[in-house]
Symmetry: C2
Subunit: 310 residues, 2 copies
Amino acid sequence: MILTVTLNTALDLTYGVPALVPHTSHRVGEMTERPGGKGVNVARVLRELGHEAVVTGFAGGATGAVLRELLAALPNHPADALVEVSGSTRRTVAVVDRATGDTTQLNEPGPHIGAHEWDAFLRTYRDLLGTADAVALCGSLPPGIHVGAYAELIRLARAAGVPALLDTSGEPLRRGIAARPDLVKPNADELAQLTGAREPLRATRDARRRGAHSVVASLGADGLLAVTPDGIWRAAPPTPVRGNPTGAGDSAVAGLLAGLVDGLDWPGRLARAVALATATVLAPTAGEFDPAAYAELLPRVTVERHAPAA
Amino acid sequence: MILTVTLNTALDLTYGVPALVPHTSHRVGEMTERPGGKGVNVARVLRELGHEAVVTGFAGGATGAVLRELLAALPNHPADALVEVSGSTRRTVAVVDRATGDTTQLNEPGPHIGAHEWDAFLRTYRDLLGTADAVALCGSLPPGIHVGAYAELIRLARAAGVPALLDTSGEPLRRGIAARPDLVKPNADELAQLTGAREPLRATRDARRRGAHSVVASLGADGLLAVTPDGIWRAAPPTPVRGNPTGAGDSAVAGLLAGLVDGLDWPGRLARAVALATATVLAPTAGEFDPAAYAELLPRVTVERHAPAA
C-alpha cells in the first residue's frame, strides 16, 4: 500500500466564466467540486495505476464532509484515513476563463489544527506506516502546524523503514530536506526559492546536498531532471504538449512512487512520471490523466543519462 | 410578521486578497461566511428594527445546512421556514482587494428546483401568508423555476390580502410587474433594462404603468425616487457617503416594508429606507448596517415632493 499525506486537504471548486474582469460581477456557468489537495490527487492516480493507496491528513466541517463524500463516490477511490478536526477544510476556487482556458486561483488558508489534533494524526500516521510500502508527504501546512512537521514525519517514516517522498515548498521544504527524505520533487520555482540558483542542474544538485537522497525537479514542459546516487537523468515527453498543467506534478509524484514500489530503475520511474504528467496536461478535466495518452506516451518518453562531470 | 422569500439563497463567502490579478494564484487572507440572498438580508435588517421576520425559499445540501446553521447562530435571527431541496444551495464569492476595497463577484447559478419542490414551497408560502403583514419577494430565480414564478407568488399574496414587494431583475421582474405587485424596487440598471428609458423619472413612471401599484427606484448615492398613487417623492441622504454598497438595496427594502407595516406615510417610509441604506454603506461589514449611523441619519434625510406635472 502507498500512503499519501495531505495535511491541508481542500474542496476544489472550478468556476467557468466567459472572462474574469476584476471589480465586476460574474455569473458562474459551469461549476465542479472535487476532493483535492496534492496527496489526494496522488492517491487517485495511484489507484488508476492499480496500486492500493490510502489518504491521510485532516478533514473537518461541512467542507470536509463533502470532500469525504466525493472521495468515497469515486469509482476507484483510495481508502480514507483522514483525521477529523474541529475546523473546516479549506476551499480552493479555480476561475477558468472559458475563451482562453487561463485560470485564476484563490486558495483559502485552511483550518487551524490544534495540538491534540496533531497528536491524533501522528498516531494514525504511525499505524499506517506499519503497512505502507512508501509514503508521499504533500502540499502546504495548515495554520497551527509547526514548520518542522514534515521533518518529523520523514524521521518517523525512516524509523519505520518506509521510503518517503516530499512535495512541498518554502520553509517546510527546507526543513524537510534537512531530515533526509528519500526523494523530493520540487518544481523550478521551489528549487530556485530553496537554493537561490536558477540553473536547473546546479539548483537540483544543491537541493540534494541539503539532505535529500534523490531530487527530481519538474521543469514544466521540459520534463524532469533527476539527481540520484545512481546518476543524473533528464526525462522529457516526445513532443511538447499544450493543455492544463493542474495536477501534472501530482501525477509525476504518483509515477515516481509507483515505479519505486514496483522495483523499476530510475529511467523506468522517470518515464512513468513524465508520461503520467503529460497525459494529465492532455486530459480534458483538470487534475485527471488520459489513460490512452499515458499508454501511448510511455514508450516514447526520452530518458537521457547525464555524463558525469567533475 | 413580515415574510421574505429568497428562492435562490446563498452561502456568501468573502475573500480578502492584497489585489486580484487574473491568471495568477492568490492566498486568501481573511475569509468570512454569511447566510445570504436578498430576502435573508432583508429579514436580518427587519429583526434589527424590532420586527418579527420569517425567511422562506429553498436550502439544500451541505452549503444549505451551513447557511441554516449560520442563520440560527445570529443573535437576533429571523425564523427559518426554508424548504429543504435535494440540490445544493449556491455559493457566492466576493473577492475584496484589500488596498482599494474593490470587489469582484462570482455567483454560482444555484440548485435545480424540481416540480415537487416548487409545490412544497407553494404550500409553505400559502401557510405563511396567513400570518404575514407583508411579503418581500427577492432576488434571482434558481434553475428549474418558471420565469413567471414571482407573478404567481404576487397573485397568491393578493388573494391572501398581503401587500407584496418585488425586488428582482430581467424577465422575472417584467412578468412580476404585470401581476400588479404593491411595490417594486428596481435600481437604475434594472429600470433601464425593463423600460428602455435612462432618465429616472420617466423610467420609474413607465415601470409603474406596467402594473406596479408603486415603484421606488434606487438611484445609488442619489437616494430613492418613489412614484406612487399618492404622489412622487425624491429622498436623499444629507450628504453623499463612501463605503461598500453591498446590501444597501436590501436595507432599503427592509425600511420600506417596516414603514408600510408601521403605517407610516410615504415620506416616513422613504426616510427610513434611505437612512438604512446609507447606514449600510457606512458599516464596516458588507451587508450590515450601523445602528448609530441610522439613528443619526434618519431625521436628516431630505424627502422632497415632486411637483405634479402634466
